[in-house]
Subunit: 465 residues, 2 copies
């Protein structure tokens, strides 16, 4: 091996951070390799965001079909071919993963299937896969190995009785009953999905509200809607004594001093993630850590020169879009393409129905911080488009600063909330005031008008409420 580095960049991990960083380096004309032990696209594309959205779309359509008579149709017997629902989702993941592999080729990213270890700065060793033993000499390393679902001690996913998102995404039969442990985005999405197809679902959440990071008003709204849909929701409740039986799981739900034993065919564990660090660094490489995550500076540089990290592996919020952003910034920075920008704000989305999307501070946050503010709300029941589409559940809530009127936080629950949040995200990026949002002509009739009306409502100027 010569002293000259073979690569400008070796990326470890091919998920939303890794593939995006690798492609960006390719765009900049750099010689880049991306080592991924499973499939290009990572968890998000293969075992997360993308296939779950395919399942959710099927669930939404299934529920719409059940209400077809409201729209003027009668449908004969509706039968669900559940394996086909799951197959479609796997097909979508496969198609998108192929897309990433195509983009690798297009951008001249060398795609190495395997595991990798940082031997020393500048040297990456392939430790598993066809290229096992290969040493990659590189000027820069980007660690983007991400996270995986956290499991409870003593439990092991078997795909039937104990599952994480990964197992359920590949399961071809619908459990009759399922306890969902954790009411974060993943737990809530699968709870909606399973319930929509007829599984008896119980959601357990330790914290006082479902979707605990969301504005409390939104959480309460979604909880109410879930209950109306037939989902049992138990908040402020712990699961104890989880036992795997021959046919399912048993556990105790503990709320205060009240304990109740429940049983179900399956338990979906959706209690967060854990960093993929195993085998990543040789003993010669010590990176400074922040709790269990790799610590980086605002340029995504680790404590060791030439080694960068981005995405879930540098810690929360564990979101694909944040990971992609960070990796692109890191790569721009390492190759002198502008000053990398730290991640300052990001939207968060949950794709159950009603959907939830938000950015910035909650009402509780601003109150706790003592920030002068005004709140504007607009319900979708007052939106002509929402009523016409029979999708009028939900509302938009906007929190703006006083006296300047800039967006502090925005919270949307309802139809297409996850698309609508983009406007407020851009608004925050540009430091838009409520008056600028109110003063922007929004097409009629659209749900997006509700964002304009919520801005107007912060100062009593909404027309339709």
């Amino acid at each position: 091996m010569s002293d000259e580095a073979t690569y400008d960049l070796v990326v470890i991990g091919g998920g939303p951070a890794g593939y995006a960083g690798a492609i960006r380096a390719g765009q900049l004309g750099k010689k880049v390799a991306c080592v991924e032990m499973e499939r290009a696209g990572g968890t998000c594309l293969n075992w997360g965001c993308i296939p779950s959205k395919a399942l959710l779309k099927s669930a939404e359509l299934y529920r719409s079909i059940q209400h077809a008579d409201d729209f003027g149709f009668t449908v004969g017997d509706v039968k669900v071919d559940f394996p086909k629902v799951v197959e479609r989702s796997r097909g979508v993941a496969n198609q998108m993963a192929k897309g990433i592999e195509f983009l690798f080729k297009k951008n001249k990213v060398e795609y190495i299937k395997g595991r990798a270890q940082v031997n020393v700065p500048g040297l990456v060793e392939v430790t598993e896969g066809e290229d096992k033993g290969k040493i990659l000499s590189t000027k820069n390393i980007l660690i983007a190995t991400g996270c995986r679902a956290r499991m409870l001690p003593d439990l092991k996913p078997d795909g039937k009785r104990i599952m994480t998102a990964r197992e359920i995404l590949d399961r071809r039969d619908l459990p009759k009953s399922c306890v969902v442990l954790g009411a974060g985005a993943i737990g809530m999405e699968f709870a909606y999905f399973l319930n929509a197809f007829g599984c008896e679902v119980t959601v357990l959440e330790m914290l006082p509200n479902v979707l605990p990071v969301e504005d409390e008003e939104v959480s309460k709204f979604v909880e109410k809607s879930f209950k109306k849909q037939g989902i049992k929701v138990m908040t402020g409740t712990k699961a104890e004594n989880i036992k795997v039986t021959k046919t399912g799981v048993k556990l105790d739900t503990v709320k205060g001093d009240k304990t109740e034993a429940i049983e179900a065919e399956s338990l979906l564990v959706a209690i967060g993630v854990t960093a993929n660090l195993e085998g990543l660094l040789s003993k010669k490489v010590k990176l400074e850590m922040d709790r269990k995550y790799i610590k980086v500076d605002p340029h995504y540089r680790t404590s060791v020169k030439g080694i960068y990290a981005a995405g879930d592996i540098i810690g929360p919020p564990w979101l694909a879009h944040v990971a992609t952003y960070e990796a692109v910034q890191a790569v721009n920075g390492m190759f002198g393409h502008g000053e990398p920008r730290p991640m300052e704000r990001f939207p968060g989305c949950t794709y159950c129905q009603p959907q939830v999307a938000s950015i910035g501070l909650t009402e509780r946050d601003v109150k706790e911080k003592g920030i002068a503010h005004k709140v504007g709300k607009f319900p979708f029941t007052a939106s002509g488009k929402a009523v016409a589409a029979m999708e009028s559940d939900g509302f938009v809530k906007l929190i703006v600063s006083e006296p300047h009127g800039e967006i502090l936080g925005a919270h949307i629950t309802g139809h297409e909330a996850t698309e609508l949040i983009a406007e407020y995200a851009l608004g925050m990026e540009l430091e838009a005031t409520w008056e600028e949002i109110h003063g922007t002509i929004h097409a009629h009739p659209t749900l997006s008008e509700a964002l304009m009306e919520a801005a107007a409502a912060t100062h009593g100027e909404a027309i339709h409420i």
Copy 2:
């Protein structure tokens, strides 16, 4: 009658301009009356935007159900109760109109059902309805009588053979075949709707492209999609010799020197609008006109002091959201609540499938004007969310200035295009550059990411193409 004006404002017309202006005046604590000859909400709410969206939603769901097997369902015989489809749409219109009536009460707007005439500045006479003969003395008058569908000379809508949007919205049976005259937004929406339920549709458009105001690339895309859906589209084609027969209509389509006779059960005339001016002004009131529309200054003042006008009656673009904006600005201005803003830019939407939404200049516009620019495009086939939802037809096209990178025009066709455009509209309002849109973290997976990628694509930085 005393010299003192009874009202601060009398609004003539209760559509998107009129009701919004009246409500806004009520918010400002003014004594206001709104005279509307039909139903609060005007054409938009009763005979336009809102009921058509209900019909389109039914059409979309019907088509989804026909493709249910792609999603993993079998649905047996699907039967359409067409009268019920229309009834739902009428119900939605009725519900929203009641909403406006409620808002009138809430904001202390006096709602007078009738026609009105401006006698002299400061005096409005009710000329039809229960209050016929009543004279309203007022400091300000806002004319917001809007427009109605334009009809061809010698033709009269009978609701069966000859229709405008108004008649078709109230028609309880589906014609077997229909010629749609005019491929603007209204024509295209009904063409999609009728075709979706099995009517044999021919669209005739005199200009070279459907949706002639849209970017040509978008128009071509939609035309292709319509043809794939089984709609016959004839552009650059005139209709001549239209004859109403006992059972339908006959006409000649003329393209260049080629003439073809066609027949259909119905003809939908969607060739634009004409101003509602009849009986509006007494002989003592002469307002300066701009062609057939009332001329106003940037404060929405007509040539006569104390008389304002807003909405369709002041001319194109004849869009509900523009009308509302103008009326609110006019009212703010007349009561000293800030400087009224002229309407500078507005999104335009068409709700057929694929949807179309745009704002600003087309590519042809910028070329003709010789503006230095760059174009970025992103296809929904590269969007994980679109693929997961099986809604990957369409693209986002963004045109930005050089060298500053501000948005000159944005064009979207595809799923939820009409919602997505709001982000670009806000971007234009705030003079956002492509870099600011690209630098805004967009939630993954969403269709809105395509707007970020199109911005990135203007400078070769899109990750997913």
